[in-house]
């Protein structure tokens, strides 16, 4: 696929995602005025507020206005507090990107290691294979809250090595005190890597079974070289796709993890914005997350295009 076609496809996906998110939020029962008045206002007062916020217009019209605003670089104002959405999101975006980045920095090597373990043992009746596979499956299914509580009990409670909550310094960055990132990042990375490994493990097993790998091993090529030259190039594209997917999952999971650790990021904001039907805020965050995932897929597609040309046989 050519680069322009890839870009066109991604733009179409981004546009579709924004329609779906807008529609889904609009279809939820109750709206921002209900949230804003806490159910304690008269119907007339609520109608007045709806008109003030433009919520009395049809959904398609609101969407069109939102898109027009966005084209001008204006993400609108929060329906709940009237604050500019750009301000609200920008306040928290760096914290979440840092956390998600730290989580992915753990997820990527963990995924590769676990996938290698699963792929290399697949098909063999080795004693190591089954418990490893079982553990990975359990880790992939572990809810983040449970894992977070477990990690806090061990590392903050028993070992006293890490803080149990991750309160960011006022006006500072999470990098001022990296210890704050460890437990939330591990909470995000472990299930995500396990899930990724179950997907990538199959690709590893397939590649290892290819005749040219066996031939290289038979020729006496050292294991490291076999891995680097004859196996990894085949795994690059599927791995990047999986990492893009995991990045999206990691961003989504920040909602739970940030709240648990008191970490002031976008996930925490998104949870509240959905609960109070603050559509412009939800849209902005969803769009940012979609952008991250699509950028990942773009990288994966480009890598696939490149490795296809140079694929050794």
């Amino acid at each position: 696929m050519t680069v322009p076609r890839i870009l066109a496809r991604l733009s179409a996906v981004a546009a579709l995602a924004s329609v779906v998110v807008f529609g889904a939020t609009a279809l939820l029962p109750s709206d921002a005025v209900d949230a804003r008045t806490g159910g304690r206002a008269t119907a007339a007062e609520q109608d007045r507020l709806r008109a003030e916020l433009g919520l009395d217009r049809p959904v398609w019209r609101r969407y069109a206005d939102w898109v027009t605003g966005l084209a001008r670089g204006d993400a609108g104002r929060s329906l709940l507090t009237g604050r500019p959405v750009g301000d609200v999101v920008a306040e928290r975006l760096p914290a979440t990107l840092t956390l998600a980045g730290a989580a992915m920095a753990l997820t990527v090597p963990l995924t590769v290691a676990l996938a290698w373990l699963l792929g290399a043992t697949a098909g063999r009746r080795s004693r190591a294979a089954r418990p490893v596979g079982g553990l990975v499956t359990v880790a992939a299914a572990l809810p983040q809250v449970v894992l977070a509580a477990l990690l806090v009990t061990v590392f903050a409670g028993l070992l006293r090595a890490l803080p149990p909550v991750s309160l960011l310094p006022a006006g500072g960055s999470p990098l001022d005190d990296p210890a704050l990132l460890v437990l939330p990042a591990l909470t995000l990375a472990i299930p995500s890597a396990a899930y990724g490994a179950t997907m990538l493990g199959g690709a590893v097993a397939d590649t290892l079974r290819r005749p040219h790998v066996a031939a290289a091993v038979a020729r006496g090529v050292p294991a490291r070289q076999v891995a680097a030259r004859h196996v990894l190039p085949f795994l690059l594209a599927p791995a990047l796709r999986i990492f893009a997917l995991l990045a999206g999952g990691t961003l989504a999971a920040t909602a739970v993890v940030e709240t648990f650790f008191g970490y002031a990021g976008l996930g925490e904001l998104l949870a509240g914005a959905v609960a109070s039907r603050d559509v412009p805020v939800v849209q902005a965050i969803a769009l940012a997350a979609t952008g991250v995932v699509l950028a990942g897929f773009l990288a994966a597609d480009l890598a696939a295009a490149l490795t296809d040309e140079e694929r050794p046989c």
């Binding site: 109750s30 006022a170 005190d177 990042a185």
Partner: protein, 502 residues
């Protein structure tokens, strides 16, 4: 098989690096800064002090940045702030309010009556969002007499004007249009850094009041009560507002921390609509109240942190009647009343609840079981918290409600008067409304209090609320914190006297 070794080594290395990068304990509390962690969600964080203020973190910040006209003391009496005196006319509809002459905004302008009037009008205009806090005022006919004198008009005789201003009368400069950032304030502190989630405030030497003991206060919003408690336990904060009863029990005996009680803050009353069957029959309501085991509910939902309820909605209010006998459980009489009401063969009810506040669902389940012992079959339905306050609250016949320590006059305005937008029990009694108006037209404080008390007693006797307990507000602080506000309601948002012991 050799292929296995390299990656697992990488994995081990990665974990080792990530662990060694993380230091040990946090530095101990620095002497001058008070680190205060409280309830607040980013989606509702706001710079506007006059609309619907959902986050306690915002209220506390406003209390430090802005002056209010009056505020409540822990004992329920009124403390003067920007206002120095209130003088009503004979009809109690026109009030002359004198203001301090020595207050200045952070931009150097003096605080004038016009600023106060502008702010009150803004609060009034946002009635839909702030539960109609200032609807008793006729703000159009109120005026600024001179720079330091206000003339406030009320729509009907209103003897409690100083108390009516005890809530969100935050004063900003006349003409302030945008609230994308803090408006200039005349309060004891100025915002010097951080954001709405985590605000850094520094003491202002020019403030008119007694100099606050703490130079720097950091106010931080954290949604999760467990995370707030952990912040104090791990010494990342000095104060955690609103922790769970389970946390309070856990830290018993821990000498590094203290639990501060704010009495009678949280109520999850069971709400019965008087205009629907079977609750339109007073015998059914009485039977349900008698079948309630209040002690068990208090012990299991609030773990005993609170006081028994007596179907009075505002036990901490100075006007709450002190001589109402405590309702206790009497299953035999409850069954008898049900029989008289024609439900001798049993009665089946559906009770809604949610998880908006911790323990609401437990309370409903327990209550359902208790009513079962009186022959009432209760089906408990757990509704999603997102839509509970718009779909269930003030709509269903029988559900679990919430009050957070607001005074009686506020409860009456939002839930009891015939005109109340959310008269959830359908308590529509013209005589009661007239009694309320008459009480507020009574100038003598003792007589007024007695009249308001009688109105509350009528709710106890015949109303649709089962108030089984009032849970304490529980705050966790390091042992070095002193003078955290302890009153119920709005007064606990003013923390300028809170300090760290040396």
């Amino acid at each position: 098989m050799k292929l296995l070794h390299a990656p697992s080594g990488v994995l081990a290395l990665g974990l080792a690096v990530s662990l060694s990068a993380c230091g040990g304990d946090e530095p101990a509390a620095s002497g001058a800064a008070l680190r205060y962690v409280t309830v607040g969600a980013p989606a509702t964080a706001t710079h506007d002090p006059h609309g619907g203020i959902i986050n306690q973190s915002d209220l506390v910040r406003f209390g430090l940045l802005y002056d209010v006209l009056t505020k409540p003391r822990p004992d329920g009496t009124t403390e003067m702030r920007l206002a120095t005196s209130f003088t009503p006319d004979a009809k109690l509809t026109t009030w002359t309010v004198r203001l301090r002459t020595d207050a200045t905004f952070s931009d150097g302008r003096p605080v004038r009556a016009a600023d106060a009037l502008f702010s009150l009008r803004r609060v009034h205009a946002k009635a839909a969002e702030n539960f109609g806090r200032l609807l008793m005022f006729d703000v159009a006919r109120s005026r600024a007499v001179d720079d330091h004198t206000l003339e406030l008009r009320t729509t009907a005789p209103y003897a409690e004007v100083p108390r009516a201003l005890e809530s969100i009368s935050f004063v900003v400069p006349d003409g302030t249009r945008t609230f994308d950032r803090p408006a200039p304030g005349s309060g004891p502190y100025a915002m010097t850094g951080g954001d709405l989630q985590n605000t850094v405030l520094e003491r202002k030497d020019a403030w008119w009041g007694e100099r606050p003991p703490t130079r720097r206060i950091e106010v931080r919003a954290v949604i999760d009560p467990g995370a707030r408690a952990q912040a104090v336990l791990s010494r990342q904060a000095d104060v955690a507002i609103g922790v769970n009863p389970a946390t309070a029990r856990q830290v018993k005996g821990n000498e590094d921390v203290t639990i501060v009680h704010r009495p009678a803050m949280t109520m999850y009353p069971f709400v019965m609509r008087l205009d629907r069957e079977p609750f339109d029959d007073p015998r059914v309501r009485e039977a349900i109240k008698l079948a309630t085991d209040r002690r068990e509910l208090l012990d299991k939902v609030f773990l005993g942190y609170g006081r028994l309820g007596n179907d009075l909605l505002t036990p901490a209010d100075p006007s709450s009647p002190g001589d109402v006998p405590q309702r206790t459980r009497d299953l035999a009489q409850a069954r008898d009343l049900l029989r008289q009401a024609g439900h001798g063969d049993g009665l089946t009810l559906t009770l809604s609840t949610t998880t908006s506040y911790p323990g609401m669902d437990t309370a409903a389940t327990l209550f359902g079981r208790q009513l079962g012992e009186a022959g009432i079959t209760v089906k408990v339905v757990n509704e999603p918290p997102d839509t509970y306050w718009t779909e269930v609250f003030a709509k269903k016949d029988f559900y679990t409600g919430f009050f957070g320590g607001i005074p009686f006059l506020d409860v009456a305005r939002v839930s009891l008067l015939g005109s109340a937008p959310t008269n959830e029990t359908a308590w529509k009694r013209p005589a009661w409304d007239e009694g309320f108006a008459a009480a507020l037209a009574t100038a003598d404080p003792a007589k007024r209090r007695a009249a308001l008390g009688a109105l509350q007693r009528e709710i106890h006797d015949e109303g649709g609320y089962v108030v089984w307990a009032a849970g304490d507000g529980l705050d966790l602080t390091s042992a070095k914190v002193a003078d955290l506000p302890t009153g119920a309601g709005f007064g606990s948002n003013f923390i300028e006297r809170t300090r760290l012991l040396p």
